[in-house]
């Protein structure tokens, strides 16, 4: 964001604002009422053992939590930006891990299951997503060019395709392709059906991204290429696409992360990817929560890695274009 050099006092250091913030937080906490939750056990020495809670306990618990939160925000305002980020990240991480800890999970069970989860589940998910995103990119490029073309046939096919595959829920597409294609005589297995569904769906979304990327190049570039005597193919390859790529990369990375998570929908076909195993491996011992938490953490970790890769690619193109 734009950072100007005008100095003004921090909003948080005005007593009136601080009071207002505290009142708002307390009111919100009071309505949600944490004295009903398991956090109340921490207050047992003061308010008595839950569930023996009343209005007194509701005040004590929510007031304390609101005070803690506001003090935390106030304290943070004295730190430098980088330190703030670090502290808030650590706090949120501790809170979310504490949230998982409250589930009373069996770590031994998770340890036993994680090997197969990685070798079978993660590998299948990554394979599905990588193949699908590659095919989707090709479809998207063709779709974008077709939608920009002045050929009525190409334009209609592209708009029809994009309209259908953006307009249907991915789950419906997965079912339609798996159950519908055999009616036409093409019997395909669960994994190819999943790849076809993911590619077609994301191809439609990415076609719009690619189109925006191509349209983002000034008209003068086309005219310049024409003046040099370039035909369409050469213009695209040497002039337009190289300039579009930096525009296309951030939203495409977004799509890849989204696809990684949407590939879980293919589990309904019985493909043994992360989500399928998460729902299945815990069954014999009825430990479903452990597997769900594990799947959640794995998806998150994969997304973080992809985010990092995306940032690197963006940096690379920024350096090249400058």
């Amino acid at each position: 964001m734009f950072a100007d050099h005008a100095q003004s006092g921090k909003l948080l250091h005005r007593p009136r604002f601080l009071l207002l913030l505290f009142a708002a937080v307390f009111a919100a906490f009071f309505v949600v009422d944490f004295s009903q939750s398991r956090i109340a056990y921490l207050f047992a020495p003061v308010i008595g053992a839950p569930p023996a809670v009343g209005l007194h306990a509701r005040f004590v618990v929510n007031l304390t939590l609101a005070l803690l939160l506001c003090a935390n925000i106030f304290g943070l305002s004295f730190l430098r930006f980088r330190v703030q980020v670090l502290v808030v990240w650590v706090e949120l991480l501790v809170l979310s891990l504490g949230f998982f800890y409250l589930f009373d999970l069996s770590l031994a069970f998770m340890q036993r299951k994680i090997g197969f989860m990685v070798t079978q589940g993660v590998v299948t998910t990554l394979y599905l997503s990588a193949v699908s995103i590659a095919i989707a990119s090709v479809i998207a490029l063709i779709g974008a060019v077709a939608k920009l073309s002045s050929n009525g046939f190409a334009y209609s096919i592209a708009t029809f395709y994009i309209s259908i595959f953006r307009g249907l829920p991915l789950l419906v597409q997965v079912y339609l392709i798996y159950l519908g294609l055999p009616q036409l005589g093409f019997v395909i297995d669960a994994v190819p059906a999943g790849i076809v569904a993911l590619s077609l769906c994301y191809g439609a979304y990415m076609a719009e991204i690619f189109r925006a990327g191509i349209l983002g190049i000034p008209r003068g570039q086309w005219e310049g290429a024409r003046a040099l005597g370039f035909k369409f193919g050469l213009t695209m390859r040497l002039v337009i696409l190289p300039q579009s790529i930096p525009l296309i990369i951030p939203p495409t990375g977004n799509q890849f992360i989204a696809m990684l998570k949407d590939s879980s929908l293919v589990s309904v076909l019985g493909v043994w990817e992360i989500m399928f195993l998460a729902r299945t491996q815990g069954q014999a011992e009825f430990r479903h929560m452990e597997m769900l938490v594990m799947a959640a953490l794995i998806y998150w970790l994969l997304s973080i890695i992809l985010e990092a890769i995306q940032a690197r690619i963006e940096n690379h193109f920024r350096r090249v274009s400058n």
Partner: protein, 277 residues
């Protein structure tokens, strides 16, 4: 003339092969040397992933034994239950050994070569529940698996297509039927507490007992509401395959293989007619 006959024969063969989506399943199995079995991976003790991350359970062992007697290998696929029961498998898998009740509706798209065991269907409530009789479940919120016979029973639309199925009466009129993609989710919801999300579940007795064994605070209510024969299922249209499987399952009944497997996985012999206890 001869050429014409040859052409006609070739055209006929082509036509037959084009329409043979539901035909020579037995040939396919024998040619590939593998029996591909559709089953659920979320239904202990019938079928689940064991600690070695392999399919295991009563249904799985029955399927392996059938494949062994056919003289072929075995492979498992795990599509959703409603995809299996809707038929038209297109050769993706050859057989369902997934504790399927032969209902009249399923009989329109599937063939049932043979019954391999029998299930008791019971209602269970949370330990804290005040309900003690089947009649006490009237007006309650009951959880069942989607597209299962248990759901059909609660909807009063159940018709079992096996001649020896004992008659039953509809004893419950639920206030609400909560339909779950899988039984395990219903059981988890009932575990949250009496009336939190569900008042009761309706399910096969071995699965309810398995829940209780794993520490779920459940109590079985009253006697079984109905008994169901459980059959293997194949795609419609291959009489030869059907007869072959029928012979195999009958032999497994006779030589005690099914009794042994039932005792191993359920602790009781559910393979012989209707268990009453």
């Amino acid at each position: 003339m001869k050429l014409q006959i040859k052409i006609c024969a070739a055209a006929l063969a082509f036509l037959l092969s084009a329409t043979a989506g539901a035909g020579p399943a037995l040939d396919r199995v024998m040619e590939r040397k593998v029996l591909t079995v559709a089953t659920d991976a979320n239904w202990p003790p019938q079928s689940f992933l064991n600690d070695e991350n392999e399919m295991d359970g009563f249904d799985v062992e029955v399927a392996k034994e059938i494949a062994r007697r056919l003289g072929v290998g075995v492979a498992f696929v795990t599509p959703l239950w409603d995809i299996i029961t809707s038929g038209h498998w297109q050769g993706r898998w050859d057989i369902s050994v997934g504790s399927m009740t032969p209902t009249r509706e399923r009989g329109r798209v599937l063939d049932f070569p043979a019954v391999y065991y029998y299930l008791l269907v019971n209602a269970a409530v949370h330990e804290d529940s005040a309900v003690t009789t089947i009649a006490g479940l009237n007006g309650k919120n009951i959880g069942v698996t989607t597209a299962s016979t248990h759901e059909l029973y609660l909807k009063k639309e159940l018709s079992i297509a096996s001649e020896d199925a004992p008659p039953f009466t509809y004893q419950v009129t639920p206030g609400k039927i909560s339909s779950y993609e899988r039984y395990a989710t219903a059981a988890d919801d009932l575990r949250l507490g009496d009336g939190v999300r569900l008042d009761a579940v309706l399910g096969a007795l071995p699965n309810i007992l398995k829940n209780i064994e794993a520490g779920y605070p459940f109590r079985v209510v009253g006697a079984p509401v109905f008994y169901e024969p459980i059959a293997i299922a194949i795609d419609k249209g291959d009489a030869e395959f059907k007869n072959r499987l029928r012979e195999i399952v009958l032999a497994m009944h006779e030589d005690g293989t099914l009794s042994r497997l039932s005792k191993k996985w359920f602790g009781k012999d559910y393979s012989r007619s209707y268990p009453v206890d």
